[in-house]
């Protein structure tokens, strides 16, 4: 019942904060956000999931099922539980929310109770996304995230916040609808064999080969259609090039703590869903399309990095580099190797922490300098040494510096992708994607040199001084976590591997079939 408690407590906190006066809202909300953090900490100690929650034999932890309603032949349920894939992301969510709230104390200076209330609403929805196992329940939370996010961008954002908020909302909503169609093509193709629209039920029915034809489309084509629709839907959220253009707008316009949540957790929703749906439910299709998906990932990595290089707004730089980092996740997932998939999942957590750190640091600089343009700043390390050096640490973390979590994630992805048997020419794809580590170093070093180092340059009519402690503290915590996971990745990697291993195995089985069918197709063509 801990998950129910978690959701209930967070939602109740949100309502309390909405009622609270603006003056006390920031601290009240932060204090209340310690409750979910504490509950997740308790869950950590009791975590006993085995295998992948979606596949046969998987035993999610803290699972519970309550019937919600019946729709036709299907039972829709409140079905929740966490496994090795979702639990680290759940932990990431609660940690980042609390830290983002602390980092909101300074920049959010109006309508605080609404802001912090919405943050808690978003946390609720995110918790739901990472714990729900029933499709409809999951979908409620999935779409539910959009509402607080829309307000957070549109009300407290930058000059073009309305445009960015609306674009975010419309684009991701369209994606959700497409994804819904994709899933239902599958559900309806499964026909009578399904009595509940829960993710495990769908996965296991597909695994059992119960997919029939639907609307005159044969099962083999149907799974491809479903895969593509699902992929399109999630690709926007991830985002995968070329469905990424909402992201820089949203990131740049959103207030910094919101960017933290956006980059830290919301993007992970996309990759999490890709893993849960495309790669767990339809591993054979994913394996068939491996080269194309790997190419998509590769393009995201390199193209995102090139775009980041062309920016002069610090936030835009970090935003575009998120696209780049998410490309690694795609490549890792499609490798269908233990380290590839595990590394991709690890990268979700790691990038959540590091991009959160980067955005927060940019935010702290902005709080003081009131600018984010690289060209306007210079030598900030002189006036704000701690912030500057945390920025340096974060940037190196982003570049994949060893002993920080980003390195572990990237190396695991690379190892996994390199030895992938699913992708033809895997080593070349891997080597290509790895060039991202040079590009990322290029633009981040350039940005650091221009903003932090050199003679102090910044035209202000006030004294630029050190940032207050409560601005720095979340940065330090994040940096600590990044290093902790970099030194001891098995803290979470063990459970991740436990949960992705069944997927890798399943692809191994289906791979034989798919290569057979591929060669058949080839034979026909010849």
């Amino acid at each position: 019942m801990l998950i129910e408690l978690l959701v209930a407590v967070t939602l109740a906190s949100a309502l309390v904060v909405f009622m609270a006066p603006d003056r006390i809202a920031p601290k009240l909300a932060t204090a209340l956000s310690l409750l979910p953090l504490g509950i997740v900490a308790v869950m950590w100690t009791q975590f006993d999931a085995a295998g992948n929650a979606l596949r046969a034999g998987g035993e999610p932890a803290f699972a519970s099922t309550i019937e919600w309603f019946a729709l036709g032949q299907y039972t829709i349920q409140w079905q929740v539980g966490v496994d090795g894939v979702s639990f680290p992301l759940l932990a990431l969510t609660v940690v980042l929310t609390t830290l983002a709230m602390v980092s909101s104390w300074t920049p959010i200076d109006e309508r605080q109770s609404q802001f912090f209330g919405l943050m808690l609403v978003m946390e609720t929805a995110l918790i739901g996304v990472f714990t729900a196992l029933d499709f409809f329940l999951w979908f409620v939370f999935w779409e539910g995230v959009l509402i607080p996010m829309y307000f957070l961008i549109s009300v407290w954002g930058g000059p073009r916040r309305k445009y960015a908020g609306t674009k975010f909302l419309l684009y991701t909503n369209l994606a959700s609808l497409v994804m819904f169609v994709g899933l239902f093509v599958l559900v309806l193709g499964l026909g009578g064999s399904l009595t509940e629209i829960s993710l495990p039920a769908i996965t296991q029915a597909l695994e059992a080969g119960e997919l029939g034809s639907f609307a005159g489309i044969e099962a083999d084509t149907l799974r491809v259609v479903a895969f593509l629709l699902l992929f399109l839907g999630f690709a926007v959220k991830v985002p995968v090039v070329p469905f990424h253009t909402w992201l820089p707008d949203a990131h740049v316009q959103a207030p910094t703590p919101v960017s933290v949540m956006l980059a830290g957790v919301l993007l992970k929703m996309g990759t999490y869903a890709l893993l849960r749906f495309n790669f767990t439910m339809l591993p054979d299709v994913a394996a068939d399309f491996a080269e194309i998906l790997a190419a998509v990932g590769l393009i995201s990595v390199l193209y995102g990095a090139m775009l980041a290089m062309a920016q002069s707004d610090l936030k835009r730089i970090v935003a575009y580099s998120s696209i780049s980092s998410m490309g690694y996740v795609i490549i890792g997932l499609v490798a269908f190797t233990p380290h590839g998939m595990g590394g991709a999942t690890f990268q979700m957590v790691s990038h959540g922490l590091i991009s959160g750190l980067m955005f927060m640091t940019v935010g702290v600089l902005y709080n003081t300098t009131h600018t984010r343009m690289v060209g306007d700043m210079g030598g900030l390390a002189d006036r704000m040494p701690i912030t500057a050096w945390i920025f340096v640490a974060g940037a190196f973390g982003y570049m994949g510096l060893p002993l920080m979590s980003g390195f572990v994630a990237e190396v695991l992805v690379f190892i996994g992708a390199f030895e992938s048997t699913v992708i033809a020419g895997a080593p070349l794809f891997t080597a290509g994607a790895m060039f991202g580590i040079v590009l990322v170093a290029g633009y981040l070093l350039w940005a650091m040199q221009r903003t932090l180092f050199g003679p102090f340059e910044l035209e202000t009519d006030y004294e630029v001084g050190r940032a207050p402690l409560h601005d720095i503290a979340p940065l330090a915590v994040l940096l600590g976590l990044v290093i902790l996971l970099g030194v001891q990745p098995d803290l979470i990697y063990e459970v991740i591997q436990d949960a992705v291993a069944p997927i890798v195995d399943s692809a191994g089985e289906s791979l034989i079939v798919s290569t057979d069918s591929l060669s058949e197709i080839g034979g026909e063509l010849l």
């Binding site: 674009k167 419309l170 090039v241 070329p242 990424h244 253009t245 193209y303 090139m306 775009l307 290089m309 062309a310 190797t337 233990p338 380290h339 595990g342 030598g379 390390a381 002189d382 040494p385 050096w389 340096v392 190196f396 510096l401 060893p402 002993l403 390195f407 572990v408 190396v411 695991l412 690379f414 190892i415 996994g416 390199f418 030895e419 020419g425 080593p427 891997t430 080597a431 790895m434 060039f435 580590i437 040079v438 590009l439 170093a441 290029g442 070093l445 650091m448 040199q449 932090l452 180092f453 050199g454 003679p455 001891q488 990745p489 098995d490 990697y493 063990e494 591997q497 436990d498 291993a501």
Partner: protein, 695 residues
């Protein structure tokens, strides 16, 4: 005690057992300084000195252990990532202490210790601010370098390889308030990162190919690869992209070499090192001369058992090394700043080490690594002393005549220079000679490529002697050419002590391995050779495949590099090398000794301009970044904003436009409504009349 020695039982076993302390001491120091640095006396120098001193003691103890027969130590310290049963590799941090590692640990701890002391004079006494950051950087560097040295697998090597790069970045950019250092730091990191890109692919490829990245032992990738070639047992090895085993080994070797070339500043990745001289001089001595730059060479030595499997890789290493030795030396000829000369000299000397490794001279390379670390650190610290004296002026044309005011500095600097130039009997002579000799004999044994490389190396000897003594004479001899040079600031014990230690070592270190005299004194008296061979130890070293003669054996096997050794006495080439070294020294004495020095190098004209501009290597690399990559990025950005986002926004725009049209349907006039209603209805009727066949 004697019995123990006779039985081969190690005298001081705990020395290598505690070898990880060499890294842990500095790590602890780093943590202390990060959190409490500004409250510490001398801003963190004390713990730094204590830590490196401790590390030095442990290392020396370890040397004694191994010299007295302790077996190599190889164990896993920390499992980083546990592979799922049977699938996915397990990533670990481990420790591998063998003669090579303990030797390198000793060098690093020694230099680091001395540099810490020197920093008291160079940094603390000069009243620099932000010193905790400086000492924290030094500590972190020492930690990373130590861990790199005792890494037992390639991934761990990469990890600390990168970390020393970070430290280099931090320390080069120590004076971040100026424009130069941050830029140099960026360049250093970026260029080495470019090399590391290939290195990382290599690491991943090794893991993918062999499932392990261990250096030593029967399960190591080196052993698997050797066996695959030797016996054709390829079960443990998966090649990719359709390569054969040996070709794939070459590919991997070359990929790892990318990192080596970057870190050891070999052509064409050498451009960052001269710029790195923007950092404080002790940093240059420690990182950019003696230790970090050595990491690349050390890595090749560490996995030499792997490289000897590929003749192609070895040839490329030798060629790059030989060429770099010569190429960098030419640029050193014309530099006007003390540290610049030393920087190019460093590049050149690492070229020798690469040449030795490529030429099959494993011991020679390690030997030169050792002596170079000593005399180059000495030269840098000497230069630092001069720089203190000259109030941070570095141009040699503003110096002159300093020998009278700075006796200790002058004498030690001279010792270092003689070692660098390879004058008998200073340290550099022995090692450089052995490098050239090994290359020559293997070249004559049937590898013409090595002869080309040898020629480059031999020519570089001439240049080395010349630029070294041009530097010495311009700095210390003649008359002072500026007011500062007339009245140099005196330096204290904390500067002189390190200089003295290193000066002595520069003289004596060569006796470790008097290869040129091996026919006379007997091969068993070449200490370093025996040490690296593990002769004093149990047979474990052979079992692990780490001994020098094991490398030589494989090197000469036909399934591997297939080198052959020509029978040639070392005396002849030794004599040649001596002549090649002495002549230019005399030349330099002739040209630069007097009170009024003629800037003769200007007579080189266009060639000098080319050399001063470093063959425009920096220009093309900068062009690659800002002239190629950046414009592509800008175009990508335009494309993204214009076309991709344009499509997205365009969809919105078109929808809004459509909306405007659609709402005009509602004209407001009710008869129009009636008409449209009727029309719509009739349309429906028409459709169904046609489809339903009513008509």
């Amino acid at each position: 005690m004697v019995g123990a020695l006779a039985a081969g039982v190690p005298l001081f076993g705990p020395g290598i057992e505690a070898a990880e302390l060499t890294a842990l001491f500095p790590l602890l120091t780093f943590i202390i300084i990060v959190f409490f640095g500004s409250y510490l006396p001398l801003k963190g120098a004390i713990p730094g000195i204590a830590a490196t001193g401790g590390a030095l003691l442990v290392s020396l103890w370890g040397v004694a252990d191994i010299a007295t027969g302790a077996g190599p130590r190889h164990e896993t310290l920390l499992t980083f990532v546990e592979g799922v049963a049977g699938e996915g590799v397990t990533l670990t941090f481990g420790i591998l202490i063998d003669p090579l590692a303990i030797l390198m640990l000793t060098i690093v701890s020694l230099i680091s210790f001395l540099v810490h002391i020197f920093s008291l004079g160079y940094m603390n006494d000069e009243g620099e601010i932000d010193l905790p950051r400086y000492y924290a950087g030094l500590s972190l560097f020492t930690f990373s370098m130590m861990a790199f040295v005792f890494s037992d697998n390639l991934l761990m090597s990469f990890v600390f390889f990168e970390l020393v790069g970070l430290c280099s970045f931090i320390l080069i950019g120590f004076w971040f308030r100026e424009a130069g250092p941050p830029s140099a730091a960026k360049k250093a990191f970026l260029v080495t990162r470019f090399g590391d890109y290939f290195f990382l692919i290599g690491v991943v490829a090794v893991l993918g190919t062999f499932g392990t990245a261990q250096f030593a032992g029967s399960e190591s990738f080196v052993t698997i690869a050797t066996e695959a070639l030797e016996t054709g047992a390829t079960e443990g090895m998966t090649t990719f992209l359709g390569f054969g085993e040996q070709a794939w080994i070459t590919v991997i070797g070359l990929l790892v070499l990318g990192g080596v070339l970057g870190k050891s500043a070999q052509f064409p990745f050498h451009t960052w090192l001269p710029d790195a001289m923007e950092g404080p001089t002790p940093v240059s001595a420690l990182i950019h001369a003696a230790t970090m730059v050595a990491a690349g060479v050390y890595l090749v030595a560490r996995m030499y058992g792997f490289y000897v499997l590929s003749p192609t890789a070895l040839s490329i290493i030798a060629l790059v090394g030989g060429f770099t030795a010569f190429f960098a030396a030419t640029m050193a000829l014309v530099k006007q700043e003390l540290k610049q000369v030393l920087a190019y000299s460093t590049i050149s000397q690492y070229g020798y080490m690469m040449l030795a490794l490529g030429g099959g001279g494993y011991v020679a390379a390690v030997f030169h690594l050792t002596t170079h670390a000593i005399f180059k650190a000495l030269l840098f610290l000497g230069a630092g002393s001069v720089i203190i004296a000259m109030h941070h002026k570095e141009n040699m044309w503003e110096m002159g005549g300093l020998r009278s005011e700075m006796r200790v500095t002058y004498l030690t600097f001279l010792a270092g220079s003689l070692a660098l130039a390879g004058i008998f009997p200073f340290a550099g002579f022995w090692s450089k000679d052995e490098v050239l000799y090994e290359t020559l004999v293997h070249g004559l044994g049937g590898s013409p490529v090595l002869l080309v490389a040898y020629t480059f190396g031999a020519l570089a000897v001439v240049l080395t002697g010349f630029y070294t003594f041009r530097m010495v004479f311009l700095t210390f001899h003649g008359e002072p050419r500026s007011e500062l040079a007339e009245d140099p600031e005196p330096v204290r014990w904390n500067v002189k002590f390190p200089l003295a230690v290193l000066g002595v070592l520069s003289v004596v270190a060569g006796f470790l391995n008097m290869g040129v005299l091996k026919d006379i004194i007997g091969e068993e008296n070449l200490f370093l050779h025996e040490f690296l061979d593990g002769v004093t130890m149990d047979a474990d070293l052979d079992a692990a495949g780490l001994s020098a003669h094991h490398y030589a054996e494989v090197l000469e096997s036909n399934f591997a590099a297939g080198y052959e050794v020509a029978g040639l006495s070392p005396l002849g080439p030794g004599a040649l090398a001596t002549v090649l070294a002495v002549v230019p020294v005399i030349g330099a004495w002739y040209l630069f000794r007097g009170p009024d020095v003629d800037p003769v190098m200007t007579k080189l004209g266009g060639l000098r301009t080319l050399l001063m501009n470093n063959y425009y290597q920096d220009e093309y690399q900068v062009w690659l970044a800002t002239g190629v990559t950046l414009p592509i990025a800008k175009v990508a950005n335009k494309f993204d904003q214009g076309i991709i986002d344009g499509l997205v926004d365009g969809t919105g725009g078109v929808s809004l436009f459509a909306g405007e049209r659609f709402r005009r349907i509602q004209s407001g006039v009710v008869t129009n409504y009636a008409a449209l209603l009727t029309l719509g209805f009739l349309l429906l009727v028409l459709i169904f009349a046609l489809v339903g066949g009513w008509i």
